[in-house]
Amino acid sequence: MKIQIKNGRLIDPANHIDAKKDVFIAAGRIAAVGAAPEGFVANRVIDATSLVVCPGLIDLSARLREPGFEYKATLESEMAAAAAGGVTSLACPPDTDPPLDEPGLVEMLKHRARHPNFAHVYPVGALTLGLAGERLTEMAELHEAGCVAFGQAHAPVVDTQVLMRALQYAATFDFPVWLQAQDPFLGKDGVAHDGEVATRLGLPGIPVSAETIALSTILQLARDTGVRIHITRISSAAALEMIVAARASGIVVTCDVSINHLHLSDADIGYFDPHAHIVPPLRDGRDREALRRGLAEGAINALCSDHTPVDDDAKQVPFGEAEPGATGLELLLPLALKWAGEMQLSLSTALARVTCDAARVLGIPAGTLSAGAAADICLFDPRGSFRVTRESLKSQGKNTPFLGLELPGRVRCTLIEGHVAFESGR
């Protein structure tokens, strides 16, 4: 199907474009940007007047809850959420049930996720069998089945020798490893950042050192093994400083931050709101400010949603007992825009962090609107807004600390390989 997207404001950070340009799509790819190709006759013209046309968003972490957690969410509902959020590619962590430690499971997931309305799925495979931190997975086989990287989600590898060997093995094939910096012992009973708020509320705390000590181990092992390392969901200013210093000394390391840590701090726990119970914990205002600046400067490579749908029952319990996690696919774009507006950054910078920069971390040729690229495109109204309510969220996870807020930006249309996966009226 040939599609022309006309009159839109094209923002393609990878190609440094922010201008009024039309986009021409044919056979699921971008045929041309600006002038129509010779003899192009559109089957459909999408009028993008007053809308921004940008690459479809790439989310580095979205839990689809399949296989194993279907009572929390299903592929259908979460992919609908992704499309409604303008997300056209997503990476999912290995902590499904069973974990993604066998090629068969990965193949089945990719097969289940193949649908014209569904975003592209890039599974992160398990680094160790069962995520137990003892035996290696068949990383090469998993890579062939479709895994783009290997990680442990929130399960620590306690035995540092096993961790080192896992990184060495991954480095053999130049597979990237994605790790959450979290010491298995410090703050293991904690549910909130170890500071004034946790003390006042009587919540067991998780100190910053739980992140920095684990990070130190990971960075030194990365240096020794030469593995490409990506640190997921950094939460503290101290961790960011360590990563910046590591890069200066030659270690190849990327990192991401979640929408929750970008905007919230432990003060947002308020009167024990279980929606603010997430992992790693929301830290204090100074950490949040450092993360916001770090993402602006590019020291933090990408912004992700860390989409984790949790069923209502698991949140309607006292704070410490609540299952951690927040829904986020539909909030990735609005919260990126909100951050950019508050920091007075250009739309292009904001969008880069959720398109081409995220693609670079994932190692996929996506996140651009170059001619020849897959037609994964998002059209949104920058002056529109999205009111976050249980009804407006398409995900089965209605649990987010942003409930009730009105956020900037409204997705109007999402195309995946030239197919309209989502469309909403004006």
């Binding site: 170890d194 946790a198 509320l201 009587g202 009167y271 024990f272 029952d313 319990v317 006292p318 410490g320």
Partner: protein, 319 residues
């Protein structure tokens, strides 16, 4: 967001924590408790204030002492009292806290006194009741995790006011396992709100929570230095579990450095009072001679506790 303890008019709807309550409300509770103390001296120790009301003691954590004082307080107000001890095994069978609350509301509960192992559980209950439009049902927190034990904090303040009258000239020290103590947190908030100029916490570093100085207290690790010129010594209970988890080596070493003995008490003012929320571990946090000595006001605390709880229940029921 509005403090869930207060109504739109700023009156007390629930008593969940002392943190965030204005001085006027704390003082009103202490003032209201005073006339309740003399009820215990009468032949008929009953007042008709809560006649016809059902008070449910919802204890998810075992505590005979606290539950008994709430029961006595409610019965002295002529309320019907129903005790529910919910063991961990029955919650494991699947009924959640909110399901239990819903069932009891269907049985015409007027007031819940709740003790729970998780910080914030009473807030969850209060928010749920508000969402169900059940604003006539009141919640009293009898202790939630490490977070708060507001009636204990209030009865401690009543005790201090009884013996020392004026809060604004006092130096008060809280000694022991502050990290795990909901009593300590409630005491700190109450003392500061009532205008005590110097509040100290004394304990080893493993038992003092992060950033506690931001709550307005001075931290001491040397007990003799911390007790110097103190008017009120508030001892905390040390639980046996603290020896596991690498927080303390032994009760003996703790007693030697942080137990209240006569010679450590000599560092305080000569008219200092000694308090303890009970039950006491004699020889661990407090020496028997001090516990039974002239400075100790531990038994009066218990008597005042009943009056304070009667006052809280009456104020909530009349709101």
């Amino acid at each position: 967001m509005r403090n869930p303890q207060l109504t739109k008019n700023g009156e007390l709807q629930h008593l969940l924590t002392i943190d965030g309550l204005p001085r006027e409300i704390l003082t009103a509770i202490l003032d209201t408790a005073a006339p309740f103390t003399e009820v215990a001296e009468r032949e008929v120790k009953k007042l008709p204030l809560l006649r016809g009301k059902s008070v449910f003691n919802l204890f998810f954590e075992n505590s005979t002492r606290t539950r008994t004082t709430f029961e006595i307080a409610a019965k002295r107000l002529s309320a019907d009292v129903i005790n529910l001890n919910i063991s961990p095994s029955s919650t494991a069978k699947g009924e959640t806290l909110l399901d239990t609350v819903d069932n009891l509301c269907a049985m015409q509960a007027d007031m819940f006194v709740v003790r729970h192992a998780s910080s914030g559980a009473p807030f969850l209950m209060a928010q749920h009741l508000a969402a169900m439009d059940l604003e006539h049902i009141h919640v009293i927190n009898a202790g939630d995790g490490r977070h708060a034990h507001p009636t204990q904090g209030l009865l401690d303040m009543y005790t201090i006011r009884h013996y020392k009258q004026d809060f604004t000239g006092l130096v008060v020290a809280i000694v022991g396992d502050v990290l795990h103590s909901r009593v300590a947190r409630s005491q700190i908030h109450a003392l500061i709100t009532l205008g005590v100029p110097e509040v100290r916490v004394i304990g080893p570093k493993t038992l003092i929570p992060a950033d506690v100085d931001k709550l307005g207290v001075r931290v001491f690790h040397d007990m003799r230095a911390g007790l110097k010129d103190v008017d009120v010594v508030m001892m905390l209970r040390l639980q046996n579990e603290r020896m596991q988890g690498a927080l303390l080596p032994s009760p003996q070493e703790f007693f030697k450095y942080y137990g209240l003995t006569a010679d450590k008490l000599d560092c305080a003012r000569s008219d200092a009072i000694v308090m303890h929320p009970g039950p006491m571990n004699r020889g661990v946090e407090i020496d028997s001679a001090v516990a039974d000595g002239p400075h100790a006001v531990i038994l009066p605390q218990v008597t005042f506790g009943i009056a304070v709880r009667m006052a809280v229940m009456s104020m909530l029921a009349g709101a």
